[in-house]
């Protein structure tokens, strides 16, 4: 049999997926805890043992892996104007699958420098200025970065006219300097793919090694990308299709974790009517955002803060006092699983409102503006109202028996300005295959597409 083994070294779990490359189907999946502190191979061996019990002995022709272990890919970025190059840099880093700790704008200060040293990122993304535009800020920032201790690589993706100057400055320090195309070559034109590619290359060449993940290299051909990047790749393939096979079109995905929530949209987000004007930075077709304060356990309080305790109580069908009582239990035990009807109800509300908050922050907004020639609509960000399919992944979501109700509660909101999906149908990633399929698509896009299509392609309406 022609088979592939796909591994996802997650922050807590190492997941393995076996795929039959001839029959285009999944042979089995299994997981165990990630053991990056000692030897990452231990957790992997245990997961593989479990997989073998399901599938029997298999001789794999292909091994591919992605990783978000050991903190994932931790990045900092900076640009010039917050709504322009700083935002472009932020979008570029997120799209590359990074965990973006902070994004700076304008000139970096001495205090910023101290903070950057303290945060010690895996990669720093330095941008600023359109091509031929401002050079002062990026050159100043290159000087500040060159003065900092440490060896984190610095990706230069700003004004073309200042790139070699920035490289010269940074090369006087221990930080490797790598130049690529500007994230915003001309005003309001986003060009984030070259920077993303470079970030992924650095991740492979340096970061994996630095995080002790190469100990598993004996069995892995290659750790090819950060996990969120694999998920993004899978979603794009599912949306676009492969040669001769139509994809599912525009779609979104929510990955709800204990500490963070990732939102993906593969959609143009163009205005839905000719009477709507788009303003601000055009956003990428494949967009990822991460909410660091929204999650089921470590960030449960963040959900309550964002939605308000009354709303949590309403959606849960509990009193505010009861919500608080259950929240205190979560505060004490972050690995708590629902063990009573109240906790089940609270989890339902937390998941639903985490999805809502994540979608509200990810999607754009529209406002009516009155002009002397009549009312017009002004849109900022992506219009995702017509997205029909929303993939749900993450333990709290895929194991919930009330997934439809959960998404319905998330999307039912009295906020006409919010451009979140009106009535998207939920599709569960019940076997956690998204990241695995993103990996597989690197070598076998058709196999990955067929498996995803079988899993997620059911008619949703």
């Amino acid at each position: 049999m022609n088979a592939a083994l796909l591994t996802d070294f997650g922050s807590t779990c190492t997941k393995v997926t076996a795929v039959d490359l001839s029959a285009h189907r999944i042979l089995g999946t299994a997981y165990d805890f990630t053991t990056v502190q000692t030897d990452v191979a231990h957790g992997l061996d245990r997961a593989l043992q479990k997989l073998k019990e399901k599938t029997g002995e298999i001789d794999y022709q292909v091994h591919l892996a992605c990783s978000s272990a050991a903190g994932g890919l931790r990045m900092l970025s900076c640009g010039l104007v917050p709504s322009l190059t700083a935002k472009a840099a932020h979008l570029a880093a997120l799209g590359a699958g990074a965990k973006v700790l902070k994004t700076y704008a304008y000139q970096l200060t001495e205090e910023d420098g101290e903070e950057i040293t303290r945060l010690s990122p895996d990669i720093f993304l330095l941008t600023g200025g359109t091509d031929g535009g401002n050079t002062e800020a990026i050159v100043h920032n290159a000087r500040v970065l060159a003065s900092l201790p440490g060896k984190f690589p610095i990706v230069i993706a700003g004004n073309r006219a200042a790139a070699s100057k920035c490289r010269e400055i940074i090369e006087t320090s221990d930080h490797p300097a790598l130049v690529t195309e500007n994230v915003m070559p001309s005003f309001n034109v986003l060009n984030i793919l070259p920077a993303q590619q470079l970030i992924r290359d650095i991740f492979l060449e340096r970061i994996i090694k630095a995080k002790g993940l190469t100990k598993a290299a004996g069995i892995m051909d290659d750790i090819v990308m950060p996990t969120p990047s694999a998920v993004m790749t899978a979603l794009q393939l599912l949306s676009d299709g492969v040669d001769g096979k139509m994809g599912l079109g525009e779609l979104m995905a929510v990955d709800l974790g204990g500490a963070t929530t990732d939102i993906y949209s593969i959609a143009s987000g163009a205005p839905g009517s000719a009477a709507t004007l788009l303003s601000g930075l055009p956003e990428p077709y494949a967009k990822r955002t991460v909410e660091g304060d929204i999650g089921m356990r470590y960030s449960a309080r963040g959900v309550v803060e964002a939605a308000g305790i009354q709303e949590v109580a309403r959606v849960a069908g509990l009193s505010a006092d009861e919500v608080e009582r259950q929240l205190l239990r979560i505060d004490e035990d972050k690995s708590l699983l629902p063990d009573c009807p109240e906790m089940e109800k609270l989890d339902f509300a937390l998941a639903s409102l985490a999805i809502r908050t994540g979608l509200l922050r990810h999607a754009g907004t529209v406002h009516q503006v009155y002009t002397p020639v009549g009312p017009v609509f002004q849109q900022k960000g992506k219009d995702l109202t017509r997205v029909q399919r929303l993939l749900l992944t993450g333990g709290a979501l895929i194991h919930s028996p009330r997934m439809h109700d959960m998404l319905k509660a998330a999307l039912t909101i009295a906020a006409p300005e919010a451009l979140i999906p009106w009535h998207a149908a939920p599709v569960a990633d019940a076997e956690y295959i998204l990241s695995a399929m993103g990996l597989l698509s690197q070598k076998y896009p058709e196999v990955a597409f067929d498996i995803m299509y079988q899993t997620f392609g059911k008619d949703v309406h």
Binding site: T130, N134, M184, P185, S186, V369
Partner: protein, 141 residues
């Protein structure tokens, strides 16, 4: 991307004004005249002009207004430019920039006081503005 004369303009129609035709004509004329033009289109806020000018290191901001509310829309723009580090950037305004038919010399005075370097009345031909830009930015008479 670069215009032939090396100078960059940020332009657009300010406020809640959606007059798009003149904006396109001006943008075309400026490009033809050799400028690198960043056209923000219609319904542009003061902040958008300023942010675009910072990123692109623009040499001038050219504000259009056709619907009569220009005087309100333009207030404080020079101060905001100064605040954003665009000290001394060339600021032009033109179009039907005030309500009704008013004496243009008075209008010009009020906009000069607001910090605009040049003020153009209704029906100004693009060549007039281009000549002014070339004089102010390139020293061409």
């Amino acid at each position: 991307m670069e215009g032939q004369n090396g100078k960059t303009l940020v332009m657009g129609v300010i406020g809640a004004d959606v007059h798009a035709v003149g904006n396109q004509i001006l943008s075309f004329a400026f490009r033809e005249a050799g400028f690198n033009v960043i056209n923000l289109g219609v319904m542009v806020s003061q902040e958008e002009y300023i942010e675009a000018a910072i990123e692109s290191a623009a040499d001038a901001i050219v504000v259009s207004s056709l619907y009569g509310h220009g005087e309100l829309d333009c207030q404080g723009m020079r101060d905001k430019c100064d605040e954003a580090g665009l000290k001394g950037i060339l600021l032009y305004v033109g179009g039907n920039i005030v309500v009704g038919k008013q004496d243009f010399t008075e209008v010009e005075k009020r906009f000069h006081a607001m910090g605009f370097d040049r003020v153009f009345g209704p029906g100004t031909a693009p060549e007039v503005t281009i000549a002014a830009l070339k004089k102010d930015l390139l020293g061409e008479e």
